[in-house]
Point group: D2
Amino acid sequence: MKLQRAHAKTLHAAGILSLAELTGIGCALDKIAHDCLDTPCPDSDAEDIHTWLEGRLVESAGDAGRKIHTARSRNDQVAALLVMYAIDAGERLAERFAAFSRICAEQGKKWSDLAFPLQTHAQFAAPGTVGFWALRYAVAFDRLREFTGLCLGHWRQFCPLGSGAVAGSLIPIDRRIQAAELGFREPSPNALLATSTRDECLQLLSIAAQAALHLQSLAADVIAFSQTPFAWTIYPGAFGTGSSMMPNKANPDAMELLRGESTAVLAAHAEAVLLLKGLPSGYNRDLQCIKPIVRDAVEKLLSLSDMATAFMGALDFDRDRLAASMDLGAIDATLRMEAKVRDGVALRDAHHAVVEELASAPGKSASATSWAGPPAGKGAQAPIFGPDRYQTLGSASPDETRRVADELLSKLRSAAAPTR
Amino acid sequence: MKLQRAHAKTLHAAGILSLAELTGIGCALDKIAHDCLDTPCPDSDAEDIHTWLEGRLVESAGDAGRKIHTARSRNDQVAALLVMYAIDAGERLAERFAAFSRICAEQGKKWSDLAFPLQTHAQFAAPGTVGFWALRYAVAFDRLREFTGLCLGHWRQFCPLGSGAVAGSLIPIDRRIQAAELGFREPSPNALLATSTRDECLQLLSIAAQAALHLQSLAADVIAFSQTPFAWTIYPGAFGTGSSMMPNKANPDAMELLRGESTAVLAAHAEAVLLLKGLPSGYNRDLQCIKPIVRDAVEKLLSLSDMATAFMGALDFDRDRLAASMDLGAIDATLRMEAKVRDGVALRDAHHAVVEELASAPGKSASATSWAGPPAGKGAQAPIFGPDRYQTLGSASPDETRRVADELLSKLRSAAAPTR
Amino acid sequence: MKLQRAHAKTLHAAGILSLAELTGIGCALDKIAHDCLDTPCPDSDAEDIHTWLEGRLVESAGDAGRKIHTARSRNDQVAALLVMYAIDAGERLAERFAAFSRICAEQGKKWSDLAFPLQTHAQFAAPGTVGFWALRYAVAFDRLREFTGLCLGHWRQFCPLGSGAVAGSLIPIDRRIQAAELGFREPSPNALLATSTRDECLQLLSIAAQAALHLQSLAADVIAFSQTPFAWTIYPGAFGTGSSMMPNKANPDAMELLRGESTAVLAAHAEAVLLLKGLPSGYNRDLQCIKPIVRDAVEKLLSLSDMATAFMGALDFDRDRLAASMDLGAIDATLRMEAKVRDGVALRDAHHAVVEELASAPGKSASATSWAGPPAGKGAQAPIFGPDRYQTLGSASPDETRRVADELLSKLRSAAAPTR
Amino acid sequence: MKLQRAHAKTLHAAGILSLAELTGIGCALDKIAHDCLDTPCPDSDAEDIHTWLEGRLVESAGDAGRKIHTARSRNDQVAALLVMYAIDAGERLAERFAAFSRICAEQGKKWSDLAFPLQTHAQFAAPGTVGFWALRYAVAFDRLREFTGLCLGHWRQFCPLGSGAVAGSLIPIDRRIQAAELGFREPSPNALLATSTRDECLQLLSIAAQAALHLQSLAADVIAFSQTPFAWTIYPGAFGTGSSMMPNKANPDAMELLRGESTAVLAAHAEAVLLLKGLPSGYNRDLQCIKPIVRDAVEKLLSLSDMATAFMGALDFDRDRLAASMDLGAIDATLRMEAKVRDGVALRDAHHAVVEELASAPGKSASATSWAGPPAGKGAQAPIFGPDRYQTLGSASPDETRRVADELLSKLRSAAAPTR
């Protein structure tokens, strides 16, 4: 509709449509828009939505309708609508990324002094906090929001409308009018490029893939934190189910589905590449098939983002079980090593010293070909690291976590007044 | 080489090569093969390996060399060599699948009475044995070996050689001679199909993807079993490394790399599909690019299979830590429910009864919106399930595990005399 | 439904359901099936379709309904239903492959003496016939039909039902009854494998990818044959559209859409691999997400196959334009070279001789760094190759094309009485 | 090396390394760098390159070497090196994109009045020029260069070094020193994110995929333009080969290989996604496998870009054959329609009028269910469109093509002084 109005205005400026005809088109479009509120998908024999809309315009606006398709083709219409869709989707995604980043930063602050073992290689590695973990997602999605903003600026440069079927039109229209009306900075400089390619869609799908990758990683983390011997999470009941056979089971279904459904978003970029591969320049009807790929990926990502935001808001952790875990895996080893370094021992020597201390500790297997964490401890009454240690623990300390979270929240607040 | 001999024999039968020329070609091929032992990749100006080989034949066998390319093209040569490669690769893979299946079955027997919690949704679910877990891979790879055998039979049907560039040749050769010499049942019936398509490669890559999927699942299992609070595995030291920063860490690197490197094998099918998409019928030079895709995937899978076989042979489990885990997660709940069923209670009623028993048990959170496993137990002196229970536990019982393993091992022994 | 009946029968044999209860379940299932004809997607609060069905059975059959879930889980139900779906889909696909192969063979016969230039590297290469081209697809799809048959046999071996949630059940049921009722040869030997993996789905998707690859290649061929300067096809109007801007255009839309929509089928295998990657053994809820991937790919392939079959039946070729093309590209060069070989010249020498003849021919650029086909000829009054040449032209000759087509049609007729 | 120096400088500022030790490290690095010129891949028992380098530093710089690994891990080193690699690769790619854009713009100017039929749906559609076609690639790669610049700015924000293994370090170093030395704006705010994720690599691969998609489209275009009945190109001989069987063939091999080898670049993004999918937070060794994926894709794209640039410089077109094509496909239909529009006829009416004119033209099939282009014309002596028409033909006119090319060339010149 917006595109029709922009085009009509351009045709009027070129003298193709009179002022009366322009007004007629405008009224007809209002009417059609109004009708579509009731029946969004009208039955029709028309070849496609574009032809249908032109037919309706002829019905309502007479001769003016027969002129509306002047100096354009379905090819450039579709190309323009797809870039406009990408821009709209990018804006909507950026908002969800901000919302998800915000809840992660807020929960990160709340959990900033909740100590637990950070892991590498799925092994307890070093002490950290749940808030530090939550900030991993807050920062990731803020960064993705910023990247989306860069892409949006890039996409708003060139307006494909006016490229015609493949090489523009003889009718002397001023494409800058269309471009400005539709929010672009200038008309696209090459009609063959504009009608043949779908670069904005690919970039949008690449953003979506990155977001989906972070979301499924969140899911993998929560599932891991919820494993039977961990049970770190107080998993929100609304996001889980029981078992039909096993009365003892309560399963983190929503997170499994988040991980599983992310796949469709992750796979969309490759599917679009596969679609475009092998096509020669110039519009080919194959290009039509990119629409469901892009729309399905965007819609799914929007709903997964919403679900993840709601989930993060509902999630909590079991402090006792977290604390008990701090006994395991000798996760203070790096701290002990670094304490020696601060006492002047060279790092590599300090490393060897702590390895030997650990090897001679009771409960540690001495076998050269095996390793295993120490047996489950007696339970930790309190976090084993005093406040002074946290003061100095780099980016994972409570203070640093709160500082980063506050900075992020303040940045997100100022970004919330978007610069569309 | 084998292909050259088969073709020379066919040309001789067609009267193109005299007996002396056929013998000359044979000697020349022997000589070239011998030279290649020293320098497998000779420097040359030749356009490709086929042209180089023809040049060498002309050098060694004179006029006979100038006739060897009669009634054939590089197109059908390459197509034939690729199917022959697929057959050879399929045979080699089937052997590795058998070897891996065998070690899993053997370890499965050894671990058949080693009780541990089976998991669903990454939650302790029901009692099983490590042997039962190992059999999952033994059966999977035996089944994949059988499927590979079906494919091999399919691939040995049609011999592409003699298809020429695109439409065979006017020279009346008997393609059945070539086919038989190269181990095929008959000549391919359509030259355009034979030279344009790479179906055998795709099927080979699809087998490879399935194998890689099982291998990375094995890796994911072992990594999960080795997590700090689990430490079920006695992880073989030769397959792990330490940390450069954290003196306490010993990491399951080989399994992480198995999971990571499987990706290249998993991705190969999609890459080949992408390569072939959009090509018209008839040989296109793009087809050449399938060679590195297939070869790299096959070589990588062969080495990953070998590594996985060696790893399974070296892996062991910590019986005490396994036993201690049996206390967690109320994993006997299904057994308790089924005992009620055997006493005549309807299943759904028995399920509700056990759910209520668990909810009122001490240490279980009563919160409607949360769940968590019971806190770590006091350590299990002995498996909590008596032998009688195992007698009746379906496919996860020790007896059943041993029976399935024995059947599999006997089947693999009889398959070891392959029916090539 | 079939699965419910098979399970009920098994529970009856195990003494869990009385004969009256078994009958009650049977009647209830009849009723539910009947109701579903009216409202296939009932509104419900049930967690999923399995729970809904159990609820309906309790309603209709009372206590028997509360027993139906004995010795099974949703996990093994879903696994069994998916293999059953794969088998059903494989059978339906095999029928479509046969139908498409049949129309290609029939058209191949009809077009068996319609000479036209075969191409390699998108260059006119050698003489062939349109029938020979059509047979490329007839043979490909017959071969794929046979491969599908091999897979079907493989999938019918193991019945997952009775695997329970992860490790079977304590209830002593005879799983062979279920297996036989559902058309499998035996119960699956490892419950963890049966509930964790989706190998049959992957194999089905790999078959689908191969079929889609052939279909999009057909589309690429037809689009190429319909290009403006070719215009070999008499493109069926029902499968094309005009242009909104260019009055001169008539576009091969159906073939472009066939090529484009094949992408979704081609991409499904990779999406399923991506879904399964990284999952540990034991049912994970992620597995649920494979259902839409498989179903969408199968349904799309079925409809694309139907469309392709209808299209091939409607397609025809313009004999005059085909004949005119035979003048171009010196496509008799191979024949001329092979005539020299039959006169005793060594192949490589004959090749050089014809290259020189062509280089000195009028209208051929002599530039070392350029090449171009000869200018468009004056139009061909008659096929330039006499019948005697076709007699000897290998697999592309009319006689050979008819022979292969007849063999194929006869084979398809005997396969039409399927051995399910 | 650069990273080692930056880290040493930071350790010196933190008082870990004395000035003498810092100098010693610097000299040792110079020596190692010098030695590596001779043997870039030294044999070693070291676990990896990082450990090897530390060993060499201990050898050369003694105790200072044993301190160099203070406050860092291999995890953050690798993460930093990968972002630095992405930045370097992005810069190199941006230069190649500029070079390719430049040659396309220069050739576009040269070919700006070379009329030929533009195509949609692989059908002749409307008149354009070869220069207009070349500009499609000039604009695409300039746009991709700009997009790469946006990404480079984004990647230069956060320096991962100092993130340690997973949670930074207790040693109070000033990470801003490292960041500045390595060209980043600030230290990364969350160590878990920095060491767990590979977003920059994914974005780099997404850029590479877009470039590869354009390159393979170029290849598809050139192959199509070189088809036997077209023969529009004067294909540069250095980029093609002959046929081993068919003396008449000269094949556009380089373009087929460009299209085929692009596949590996196109597939890399999906492979990286597959690798990362399913991994929990915290460094996992799987991440190592992203290195060959990224490096192979970048190196291949660099060489394909160079080849494409050289090819575009060597390509030329056959003016006579282009001119002859302008007779076909009634490609002036849009112009005739638009002439009527300028005379005041409504577009839709003008469209119908021209459709009827074409239908009644001689040589056009009247069949409702078939269509075909008119038979090949008598050859065009001159372009059928006079200069006045080109003056008004939108973006495909010679003047407009030259204007866009000049603007682009001037922009590329000013961008050539890069703002690194």
